[in-house]
């Protein structure tokens, strides 16, 4: 296999406004704390269904959204809490959704795998791997034909980049010149299958490590970056979004990260070498970014502590909101199926 070559970032922290850097830090932390609590609530039986956590991958969501305008849109995945929080979604409404409550962002109909908030351009998490690539491509077509000026970032995993939908969507966008960015979050695993060989495990799901190189196959730009560095993500997305918005050139961004927890909560990860989990925890993007902010004198301990307290409070309030909210009335099951309701027969 080819060795992975990461594109070094050119931008320095000093070139980014302080409030954007602090926003990225806070966003990463909001995701982390939200998800740590989610893990606890799931273990305590308060969250039904499947839960896939984003812990360790927060720099990606923060870096992407820092580069977007409010009107820009994203498609998300089953591992989508982080995308939702970073895009500006309500933590409380997402918590209520994941609890199956009527006050949830999808009225309790979708749950964690299907959170969506169209009002902020979060076009939906998805339970079908690879489904977001074409959906986002279509949203980009609408932007172009209706002259709406927004860009779509399709975010999905390395596993999702193995689906035919990826190749079909990227090809389409490249010939139609659509304002879209295909963002691959490579956390080194698709469920129990490694992207490339691990100690004692020769399996791999792709024959190249640099998925950014796939751009060549479609005649569009592609890069592989450090996905645990929010600044590197911000820089790559900013450049790609500008190309997309102004010139209608789509891009592929392949970000390297890793999954600190199991594929889903409750996954004992028997297929994964223990040292791989340990190595991943060492790559944690949050302490790394915090250190940078302090060392470069961008933020003081006090400033960061204040942010940390705000985040704790917000998460606690979100849980409180979810717990206090009622479950939907059973009859709600029959609404929202068709836009032209009521449909004569269900």
């Amino acid at each position: 296999m080819t060795e992975v070559v990461v594109k070094e970032k050119k931008i320095t922290p000093e070139e980014i406004p302080k409030e954007k850097l602090l926003w990225m830090y806070k966003t990463m932390l909001r995701i982390r704390r939200y998800e740590e609590k989610t893990a606890e609530l799931f273990a305590a039986g308060e969250l039904p269904g499947f839960i896939h956590l984003y812990i360790g991958e927060e720099a990606i969501a923060a870096g992407i959204m820092a580069a977007l305008r409010p009107e820009d849109k994203i498609t998300s995945t089953h591992r989508g809490h982080g995308h939702m929080i970073a895009k500006g979604g309500s933590m409380a409404k997402m918590m209520a959704e994941n609890m199956g409550k009527v006050t949830g962002i999808c009225k309790g109909k979708g749950g964690s795998m299907h959170i969506a908030d169209f009002s902020i351009g979060e076009l939906g998490a998805n339970g079908i791997i690879g489904a977001g690539w074409p959906l986002g491509t279509g949203a980009a077509l609408a932007s172009k034909l209706l002259g709406l000026g927004y860009v779509v970032v399709c975010i999905a995993g390395d596993g999702a980049a193995e689906q035919g939908t990826f190749h079909e969507a990227v090809n389409l966008a490249s010939i139609w010149k659509l304002p879209v960015v295909y963002f691959i979050e490579d956390n080194e695993y698709g469920m129990g299958m490694p992207s490339w060989p691990k100690p004692g495990d020769p399996r791999k799901s792709k024959n190249i490590k640099n998925l950014g190189d796939r751009g060549i196959a479609y005649g569009i730009p592609g890069v592989t970056i450090d996905g645990n560095d929010p600044i590197a993500v911000y820089e790559a997305v900013k450049a790609a979004v500008e190309r997309a918005r102004i010139e209608g050139i789509p891009s592929i961004i392949h970000a390297l990260t890793c999954r600190q927890r199991g594929h889903f909560e409750g996954d004992p990860q028997l297929y994964r070498p223990k040292e791989d989990v340990e190595a991943c925890k060492k790559r944690d993007p949050i302490p790394r970014f915090r250190k940078l902010l302090i060392e470069k004198g961008i933020a003081t301990e006090e400033e960061l502590k204040k942010i940390e307290e705000e985040v704790e409070k917000e998460v606690a309030e979100a849980i409180e909101f979810g717990r206090k909210s009622p479950f939907p009335d059973p009859k709600e099951a029959y609404t929202d199926i068709y836009a032209s309701e009521p449909f004569p027969e269900v």
Binding site: F50, K109, G111, I128, Q163, G190, V346
Partner: protein
């Protein structure tokens, strides 16, 4: 006879067939080192190696279509589609390719492939991980559709499926995996198209499949105390469907309730009632169906419980036919 779980019965069938026939291979997402998303394939990768138990990328179209191509070329693949809900990604390979290439080539090739997949709701897994959908496949010419409800049936039907020279889709309801039952250690087969009367009774015939057989059994137990005698017929395969056994039962009882976790319209319930009506069986009451309404499976427990068929809904329908 030893007791085994539904899950273990499937594992045992796979293992024994792989020992018997070196052309049997397994492919799918996380069927190897993970042991299968629901733990069915367990340690098969250790026993038979990673050449024969193949973990695939998340590329259903490639490995399901690939399974069909391999089947036409001398292998006997057992391919796993993690949840039936994901079929859409590979639908062409399933219903235009594996199902029809034999016919279109005038019988030149055959497709000894089994596509195992999981079905069923009740896990708060929402609209893309909870469906049943077997009727979609029973609708298409060229596919055999197997829907076991007990560990015994699971093993025998899977062995038949693997030895069968045609494309078989084999549906495993997730709620059945932990259920225990008697399963012989040695390999055995159960023919397709032979329904099983899971419970004998005189007043009402209930036709049910997969997990719904068990809900119907509970309903029948409770109704027995109220003096209603329920016969439960499990078709076990939908394509082919054993119309004779169903008709014979309805001729005896004169009443029919069809229970199905699949969506109600244009599905197995309508088909089974039609088969009975076509035979001109005299009914003492209009036939009833208990199935999932035309609603995507919702996430929230209160909503999901509202729409899925269950023991109480089955009891209600049975009682209505007794009025």
């Amino acid at each position: 006879m030893p007791k085994k779980t539904f899950s273990y019965a499937i594992y045992e069938a796979l293992k024994q067939e792989m020992v018997r026939d070196p052309t049997v291979i397994i492919m799918g997402e996380d069927v190897g080192r993970f042991g299968g998303c629901f733990g069915v394939t367990r340690d098969l990768w250790k026993i038979f190696g990673e050449e024969r138990v193949r973990d695939t990328p998340i590329s259903e179209s490639a490995f399901i279509g690939g399974g069909a191509g391999a089947a036409a070329s001398g292998l006997r693949p057992v391919v796993e589609l993690m949840f039936v809900d994901f079929f859409g990604v590979a639908m062409d390979q399933i219903y235009n390719q594996a199902a029809k290439l034999r016919y279109m080539s005038g019988g030149q090739c055959k497709f000894p492939m089994v596509l195992r997949t999981t079905i069923g709701g009740g896990f708060r897994a929402a609209a893309q991980h909870s469906q049943v959908l077997y009727a979609l496949f029973a609708h298409v010419p060229g596919i055999k559709v197997v829907v076991p409800s007990t560990p015994y049936d699971a093993k025998g039907l899977l062995i038949t499926a693997i030895r069968d020279d045609d494309f078989v889709m084999y549906f495993e309801h997730k709620k059945l995996y932990p259920i225990e039952g008697e399963v012989p250690d040695e390999p055995y087969t159960i023919p397709f198209g032979v329904a099983d009367v899971k419970r004998e009774g005189d007043d009402v015939t209930v036709v049910a499949m997969a997990y719904m057989v068990h809900e119907a059994m509970k309903a029948a137990d409770e109704l027995a105390k109220e003096g209603i005698s329920v016969e439960i017929v499990d078709p076990r395969t939908l394509a082919p469907l054993d119309t004779d056994t169903i008709v014979k039962s309805v001729e005896k009882t004169g009443r029919l309730v069809v229970v199905d976790e699949d969506y109600i319209y244009f599905g197995a319930t309508g088909e089974i009632i039609t088969r009975v009506v076509e035979r001109g069986v005299a009914l003492k009451a209009p036939p009833k169906r208990v199935a999932t309404p035309r609603v995507p499976i919702p996430f929230s427990p209160t909503l999901e419980d509202e729409i899925l068929p269950n023991k109480d809904k089955i009891k209600k329908a049975i009682k209505e036919t007794m009025k």
